[in-house]
Symmetry: C2
Subunit: 123 residues, 2 copies
DNA sequence: ATAATAATTCAATCTCTATTGAAGTAACGG
DNA sequence: CCGTTACTTCAATAGAGATTGAATTATTAT
C-alpha cells in the first residue's frame, strides 16, 4: 500500500495506486461482494448463496479485491477447508480519504478560462 | 444519471451506475484530467500542455468522463473551435456521497461467522 | 475558395478482463 | 486410503479498453 504525498500534493495514495484500487472497485459484482463483506466476514459459499455467483467467479473477484488490499482472507481455525474473507478497514478508509480529497467540491475552482479567445479577456 | 434508493438500500446511485462511474475514474490519465479540471475549466490543448497527453487521447478520455456524467463541455463563445471542459459538480458530489456511504467504516460489522465450523459456535 | 487551427473520429493493435466449465488443491471424515 | 467438501486454478472465449497515427469535421482567418 503505497503511501506518500502523492502527485496531487493532496492525496494520501499515489495516483496510480488510487487508479488500481478504483479498478478493483469498478465492477458491479465486486461492489456487491464488498458490500456483503461490510456486513460481516463471509466464506465463499455464503457469498455464493447471497449473491448467486459461481464459486470460481467469486474466487476470481475476491482475488482482485485482495490484490488491491481491500479484502483479507483467513482459514477456519477448526476446519481449514473454510476460508473467511473480511474487509480491510484501513485500506477502505485510505481509499475513502483519497477520494474525498480528490472529489472535494471545494477544490472545484471557478477559474476563468486561460486559453482561447475567451481566455484573452480574462488575462 | 440514475438516482434511486439503490440496491444497498443506502446508496444514492444504483450499484451498476456507481460501477460505471468508478470505471470512468479508474484510470491514471483520467484521474489526472479530472484533477486538472478541478483547478478550473480547460480546453483540450491546455490539458495537452499540462499533462503531456496527445490531443486524440485526451479526446478519448474526456469522452469517457463525459459519458459518465463527470465532465461537461461547451464551445467558446467567440471562437467555436475551442471547447472548454468542466467538472460536473453535482455528479462528482453524488459519486462522493455514494462512495462515502458504501465505504463507511461504521458499516463494517464485526458480525460473528455464520457459516462453517466456527459459525456453529456462534449460533 | 484556400489555408490554418482545435478537436474529434477512424482504424489498427495490443492488452486486459469478466465469465464459464473442467480440472486441480487442500483439508476433513470414515 | 477413499470419498466428500470448500475452494482455487486452468484453459478458452468473448468483449472492453488504452494507445497511436492517419484521416475527418468544424470553425475561423486571409
Amino acid at each position: 500500500m503505497a503511501v506518500d504525498t502523492g502527485v496531487l500534493g493532496l492525496e494520501i495514495l499515489e495516483l496510480e495506486t488510487l487508479a488500481s484500487i478504483l479498478k478493483a472497485l469498478a465492477d458491479p459484482n465486486r461492489l456487491r461482494v464488498l458490500d456483503a463483506l461490510m456486513a460481516g466476514d463471509s466464506c465463499n459459499c455464503e457469498l455464493n448463496e447471497r449473491l448467486g455467483l459461481a464459486p470460481n467467479l467469486l474466487s476470481h473477484h475476491l482475488r482482485v479485491l485482495r490484490k488491491a488490499g481491500l479484502v483479507s482472507a483467513r482459514r477456519d481455525r477448526i476446519d481449514g477447508r473454510w476460508i473467511y474473507y473480511a474487509v480491510n478497514e484501513t485500506a477502505v478508509t485510505q481509499c475513502r480519504i483519497a477520494l474525498n480529497t480528490l472529489l472535494d467540491p471545494a477544490r472545484i475552482q471557478p477559474r476563468p478560462i486561460l486559453c482561447g479567445p475567451e481566455g484573452q479577456t480574462n488575462s
